[in-house]
């Protein structure tokens, strides 16, 4: 089940105007719900209730219908992403090389569950499918940076996270 964010919504008037402009132009066209959600996620980074309600009003659908679509497709997220988005590969190769343990350690160190964003908005954590870097397994990424063959034990993870604290 998708994680529903409990963090307060921090949308700006500019973001709202941007989404509204798109919805005014396209919202009532047939099949508008999917592109509307994609567009909304591009603007806000995720889809909290406030944003889904705007999409529902703008497309003339009920909130539940829009929520049903948002929870059906893996590409939509109901939780915000951090400034630094950590994705731990749980593909077969990484998994047998212990990436599950890395995910567990990161959850512990960041104090959040996979799928969540830390309250300060700095880090979010999630698992990913195979990213094609099996030679470096176990692999995780922080935004565009790739980290391979990291041991979950010792200080390696702390050292990496420290680079992004500032």
């Amino acid at each position: 089940m998708k994680k529903i964010s409990k963090l307060p919504f921090n949308g700006t008037p500019e973001q709202e105007a941007q989404l509204k402009a798109w919805l005014d132009e396209n919202g009532k066209k047939p099949g508008a719900a999917m592109p509307a959600l994609q567009h909304a996620q591009e603007i806000y980074g995720y889809l909290p209730v406030e944003v889904l309600r705007m999409v529902a009003r703008g497309t003339g659908k009920s909130l539940e219908e829009i929520y049903g679509i948002a929870t059906f497709y893996a590409q939509f997220s109901l939780s915000p992403k951090g400034k630094y988005k950590i994705a731990v590969c749980l593909g077969t190769a990484c998994y047998v090389k212990g990436s599950g343990k890395i995910l567990e350690k990161l959850e512990e160190k960041l104090g959040i569950q996979s799928g969540d964003c830390r309250e300060d908005g700095v880090f979010s954590l999630e698992s990913s499918r195979c990213i094609g870097a099996c030679g470096l397994a176990p692999v995780f990424t922080i935004n565009e940076d790739v980290y391979g063959r990291v041991s979950p034990e010792g200080n390696e993870l702390d050292a990496i996270l420290a680079k992004y604290q500032g």
Binding site: M1, L52, K61, L63, E64, I66, T71
Partner: protein, 584 residues
């Protein structure tokens, strides 16, 4: 109409072009089972219980949505068909909560019947992980138990397509798919209007009314309480269905006898209160017309509709008649006038209402519903037709063998106008009968306003000239239709003086509290018109067909209320409304 000839299991039938295989088979006298399909409501071809073989087509096709073509040869009972249906059923059962013995739908569950019909001995043939879901018990009128849900989506279609609301839908995907509200909110946090149309379409026990019969039994068995029951107009033409009687049978006499044998101290008729509603509502309408009040006036008998208006169209609250619904008017009169007459303390009176409606469970708890004051509710307990039938079953009453009895007279005399309240257009017609005679001071030649009758159309319009005044009326049923009409009125595309709205399609006869009928019946029988027809034929047989002719109503005004619209009548029989936050 262009016809096509097809063969079903070798039987040749001729059906209109565009018919489905399901309909052609019905013509040939063959039932094809359906779980997701419900005519006019849910036509998605998803559950694959209705699969059949068609000569020349590879694989099985879904009979519910597949159109026939000339010369088509259909086979509904081959080994391949049976095997496929059986496996589909076994897969549905693999994640179904099989706690069937005490289930509210045991005995009339569509899944249970199919399981029996297909001789499925091992209901755990594909055992494995089962999804666990909490029961949503949040709302006053119903609960949803997703462990009994088969994901047919009939309820979703009823909520969004028929009622235009859409507070429930399918969330997540694959094995985690389940019916719920946005952001997994409890139902009572959403803009559900409690119409219960989701309940009457559910094939299993996943959605059902909150059962309040224990409260009724407890009241009946409490010697310190004077327990009276009122029965709504429409339930006398539906209750028989719960006892296998033909749809559209009027069982008023047996219903009264049953209530008496259940132990109610008095058995009264909501139709009496319907007549009273008309006295107040017709008066309110004429006052608005004559004094330049807010028009169109819109009826307020249907609590699902009232909640819908408060939530989705609060700008029309001034248009809502301030009259309480017949259920609440009955309670108000019972705890004031009747209490006084009988020398009873209203605190010791328990008013039970048997209603075709689950929204009535919500209505009893509304604010401004205490005619007797002191927070004494007008109506204590509202139960549905289904719950009443269960009480009769539990009491061991042989319904078909009961004698026909009459209501107790004090609050039990009603006119034909009261009876037709249960069908779409009925409240309007009843009000017009009284308004017309009040305006002209003359008796109507014929008290029939047939243009507003009928259950085939959700929006019925008519223009009448009464006492030199032109009155434009509209009778609407189904909330998606109400939305259409109100939007037109708001945009100036339509103009009326008087609008009747009933939340459920066809009116109370098709209410969310009525006996459930399986898809095998609903797909081929017009429930609404059979049930409504029984009310109109009762009206036709009456000598008193206008509310103001009711002698008990006259007595009530003469000895207690004064005249319609009096200060006292306002205190006791009228109520108020609130705009509700939107959450949909």
């Amino acid at each position: 109409m262009e016809m096509v000839k097809v063969k079903v299991n070798g039987i040749e039938v001729s059906v209109p072009r565009g018919s489905t295989i399901l309909e052609a088979a019905y013509q040939a006298g063959i039932d094809i089972p359906t779980l997701c399909y419900l005519k006019d409501i849910n036509e998605i071809g998803a559950c694959r219980i209705c699969v059949v073989e068609v000569k020349g087509i590879r694989g099985l096709v879904t009979a519910c949505v597949y159109p026939v073509s000339e010369g088509m040869e259909i086979f509904t009972n081959t080994e391949k068909v049976h095997a496929a249906r059986k496996m589909n059923l076994e897969l549905v059962l693999s994640t179904h909560n099989q706690d069937c013995l005490g289930c509210v739908r045991s005995g009339n569950c569509e899944l249970q019947k199919l399981t029996k019909d297909y001789g499925i001995k091992d209901t755990d043939a594909w055992s494995g992980e089962k999804m666990q879901w909490p029961v949503d018990n949040s709302a006053a009128h119903m609960y949803r138990d997703n462990t009994k849900c088969i994901l047919c989506r009939r309820c979703v279609a009823a909520c969004s397509a028929v009622q235009g609301i859409g507070v429930i839908g399918a969330n997540e995907r694959g094995f985690e798919t389940h019916i719920a509200c946005a952001f997994e909110q409890p139902l009572d946090a959403t803009s559900c209007v409690s119409c219960g149309q989701c309940i009457v379409v559910c094939p299993t026990g996943a959605i059902a009314e909150k059962d309040d019969t224990d409260k009724v039994w407890a009241a009946i068995q409490d010697p310190t309480k004077h327990v009276i029951v009122q029965t709504a107009p429409s339930i006398r033409v539906t209750l028989g269905e719960a006892f296998n009687m033909p749809i559209g049978t009027n069982v008023q006499g047996k219903m009264v006898a049953a209530a008496r044998r259940l132990g109610f101290d008095k058995v009264f008729d909501t139709d009496f209160a319907a007549d009273l509603t008309i006295m107040e509502e017709a008066n309110e309408f004429l006052e608005r017309v004559q004094n330049g009040g807010t028009l169109p006036m819109i009826t307020s008998c249907s609590p699902g509709w009232v909640k819908y208006c408060e939530t989705f169209f609060p700008q029309f609250i001034p248009n809502l008649s301030s009259c309480k619904s017949p259920q609440q008017m009955f309670g108000s009169v019972a705890k004031t006038y009747y209490a006084q007459k009988m020398g009873l303390d209203p605190k010791d009176i328990v008013v039970v209402a048997v209603m075709p409606c689950v929204a009535k469970k919500f209505e009893v708890g509304r604010d401004d519903m205490s005619a007797a004051g002191d927070g004494i509710p007008d109506v204590d307990i509202a139960i549905t037709t289904r719950e009443f039938a269960r009480m009769i079953e539990k009491a061991g009453l042989r319904f078909d063998r009961l004698p026909d009895e009459d209501f107790d007279p004090a609050l039990g005399i009603a006119t034909g106008a009261g009876h037709i309240f249960g069908a779409s257009g009925g409240v309007m017609e009843a009000a017009l009968r009284t308004a017309a005679e009040t305006l002209t001071g003359k008796e109507l030649d014929k008290p029939d306003f047939v243009e507003v009758r009928g259950t085939d159309k959700g929006i019925k319009e008519a223009v009448y000239t009464v006492g030199g005044k032109t009155i434009r009326v509209c009778a609407v049923s189904g909330l998606a239709n109400a939305k259409e009409v109100l939007t037109k009125v708001e945009n100036g595309e339509a103009s009326y003086d008087f609008i009747e709205v009933m939340a459920c399609p066809g009116g109370c006869i098709n209410g969310g509290g009525q006996p459930t009928q399986p898809a095998s019946v609903r797909n081929f029988v017009d429930l609404k018109s059979l049930r409504a027809g029984a009310l109109y034929s009762q009206d036709e047989k009456m000598t008193m067909r206008k509310s103001h002719e009711n002698p008990r109503i006259k007595e009530l005004y003469d000895t207690f209320l004064g005249k319609p619209g009096s200060h006292k009548a306002h205190e006791i029989l009228h109520t108020s409304y609130v705009a509700r936050p939107k959450n949909y």
